[in-house]
């Protein structure tokens, strides 16, 4: 039972961390290697919110707004010139990540920052004391996944984004301003990444390098998921389960690299990953 809870909550955390990266990759076909930096920016929004004496929950909208605003600028300055050079986009966003990390260091210092917990304590569930926050993470993942799906399925922007995903040239021919769709998607994806940064703060310390630890895992999950949130959810559950099971029954060290290794193998066998459905 404990293992099952661990699997579900681990999958939820992986989903939260990867959602922003997936939104961008799905529509733009660009890997945002500055994703880690956006997670960090989000977490520092929680630090700032705490310093301003705001309610810890207020950091969530703040981080989304800051992340989306930064995303807009980054799309305009860095991503837009590189749409036709996806490998170069990886490098440029990695460089952007270095720059953001150093700017955060200059502003806040290297020190580990501590933020107030969003939710503390444990609840009794199935006869176990389980972390309340981890259970909340499942709810947060469902909310994020649900609102992304609603956005894609139920709004004009979502319709346009799906058109761009399927066939960009055709979408442009139909009079869709694809540049704006890309800009909006990148901003939303960046906002989601920053939001995820806040949601991570109760689990981790906040420091200028915190995002890098999550970047590779999120990147591999998104590669396996292709462009779909449903596939991402499946990938998170499968890989989360593998990570927890390997950690529990073999070794946590192997568990921590299992996502990356397994994703590489899955992609070798089936280059389209879980997105074939």
């Amino acid at each position: 039972m404990l293992i099952l809870l661990d699997v579900v909550t681990t999958a939820a955390i992986l989903f939260i961390v990867s959602a922003g990266l997936l939104a961008i990759f799905g529509v733009l076909k660009i890997i945002n290697f500055a994703h880690g930096a956006w997670l960090t920016v989000g977490a520092y929004c929680a630090v700032v919110a705490a310093r301003l004496g705001l309610n810890p929950w207020a950091a969530l909208p703040l981080a989304f707004a800051v992340g989306a605003a930064l995303g807009t600028v980054a799309e305009w300055l860095i991503i837009r010139p590189l749409y036709r050079r996806p490998l170069d986009a990886i490098l440029a966003t990695w460089g952007l990540g270095i720059v953001i990390g150093q700017l955060i260091t200059l502003a806040f210092g290297r020190d580990v920052q501590i933020t107030p917990n969003l939710l503390g304590g444990t609840v009794a569930l199935f006869g176990l004391d389980y972390s309340l926050y981890r259970l909340f993470a499942v709810l947060a993942a469902v909310l994020i996944g649900g609102s992304c799906a609603a956005l894609l399925e139920g709004t004009r922007l979502g319709l346009k984004a799906r058109a761009v995903i399927m066939n960009e040239a055709l979408a442009r021919a139909l009079g869709i301003d694809t540049a704006r769709v890309r800009l909006a998607t990148f901003a939303i994806g960046a906002g989601l990444s920053a939001l995820a940064g806040v949601l991570l703060t109760p689990l981790t310390s906040v420091d200028p390098n915190m995002g890098v630890a999550w970047l590779i895992g999120a990147f591999m999950l998104v590669m396996v998921a292709g462009g779909s949130f449903a596939a991402l959810a499946v990938a998170c559950l499968v890989f989360g389960a593998v990570q927890v099971l390997v950690s529990t029954f073999v070794s946590p060290i192997l568990g921590s690299i299992s996502v990356a290794v397994l994703a590489a193998v899955v992609l070798r066998i089936s280059p389209r990953g879980f997105a074939r459905a």
Partner: protein, 386 residues
């Protein structure tokens, strides 16, 4: 930040105190390679401050053999590659007379070949996993043989603990500390019911904590990499409702304080805590506060050995009568200094017996000393060195 960057950047402190003896002789330069960036960047500024205070005090009293002391600080980026650059720069570029520094084990190891080739004495002032041996290397900080026994003894005798769970980061310090802890626990009649590691940059302790809860031990001992992994593990353990006697081998007073409520109740073992009730420590704290004011970084178990090592070097140079490396190396194990941590003498195979303090973090973040262990021996660290 800009202030501490100024402090930490390479600067020469040469007080304009022209003394009769000093005519013609330049300052004695002390190289301080530390991790201004990377994993050690949080604690490094406090180490630099401690060195600056020691140099200031010594210079104010006429220097060493009539020569002033000067500091040369270099960033080693807390790693091997950065340490090579920093030591190259200090040993070959700046031609320093001695190296006194707190560094990661990777940085220290990377530096040892350079120190050997450059034939410069090197006083290492960071606690570490032990058994680093080199003719040029002296250590005035603790090793597992000194730090772990107070905790295990206390848990077994006072808390009645019989079973222990050990958690660490997968690196030399984490593994070294816990492997000594394990053998010491078993020697003391306790039992280790679990020993788990996560990579140094690992941030998801889910399964480790679940294993800990399933194993139902009497106590838990952790030894992670400093900073982020330590905070992450503590946060996740507290969120999971772990309320066992909890000793953290990698936490220092400053980190404990900033962790807030999550740190309350943690046991730590150190050769220095600010609350040591001696005249030497009080004088040291007062001098620090006076010199750095609002910019002062709280002195800690890494910065105080740096302060004392500068004095130990002074004593060795004075005894040797010169800064000649061979003579200084010969003198170093024979001299001692009465500092904030008590009397320090690096006479046990290049290591020093130390007084250890067992402390517990209080609700307000301060550390209360629970018991004191006089002059704990470092054991056989380097049997091949005399």
């Amino acid at each position: 930040m800009s202030k501490s960057m100024l402090l930490s950047s390479a600067l020469l402190i040469a007080l304009a105190a022209p003394s009769a003896h000093a005519a013609g002789a330049g300052p004695i330069t002390i190289g301080v390679p530390v991790g201004l960036s990377g994993a050690n960047s949080v604690v490094a500024p406090s180490v630099v401050q401690a060195a600056e205070l020691a140099v200031d005090e010594i210079n104010a009293h006429g220097g060493v053999l009539g020569r002033m002391l000067a500091l040369d600080v270099a960033d080693d980026a807390s790693g091997a590659a950065g340490a090579q650059k920093a030591f190259d720069s200090l040993v070959y570029g700046k031609k320093v007379d001695v190296l006194i520094s707190m560094e990661t084990s990777a940085a220290r190891n990377a530096a040892l070949p350079i120190v050997s080739k450059g034939k410069v004495p090197y006083i290492y002032t960071s606690f570490y996993e032990g058994h680093s041996c080199n003719r040029n290397l002296f250590v005035d900080a603790w090793v597992p043989e000194q730090q772990v026994p107070p905790i295990v003894d206390d848990f077994i005798k006072d808390k009645g603990a019989k079973t222990f769970f050990l958690i660490g980061s997968d690196y030399a310090f984490g593994r070294g500390m816990l492997s000594f802890a394990k053998s010491y626990i078993e020697k003391s009649g306790g039992k280790v019911v679990g020993e788990e590691y996560l990579p140094m940059d690992g941030s998801d302790w889910t399964s480790v904590i679940s294993k800990l809860k399933t194993a139902h031990p009497d106590a838990v001992i952790t030894s992670t990499a400093g900073g982020a992994p330590n905070v992450t593990l503590t946060k996740q353990m507290r969120a999971a409702g772990v309320a066992l006697p909890y000793a953290n081998l990698a936490v220092d007073e400053g980190t404990a304080k900033s962790m807030g409520a999550d740190a309350t109740g943690i046991f730590l073992s150190a050769s220095y805590v600010t609350g040591i009730d001696t005249a030497a420590n009080k004088a040291f704290l007062a001098a620090m506060a006076k010199k750095f004011g609002a910019d002062e970084k709280t002195p800690n178990d890494l910065s105080v050995p740096e302060y004392e090592a500068v004095y130990l070097y002074k004593a060795a140079v004075e005894k040797a009568g010169s800064t000649d490396s061979a003579k200084v190396l010969e003198a170093l194990p024979t001299v001692s200094f009465d500092g904030p941590r008590g009397t320090i003498r690096m006479d046990k195979q290049h290591h020093a017996p130390l007084t250890m303090y067992l402390g517990q973090v209080q609700g307000d973040g301060s550390v209360k000393v629970a018991s004191t262990f006089k002059d704990v021996d470092p054991g056989a660290q380097c049997p091949n060195l005399k």
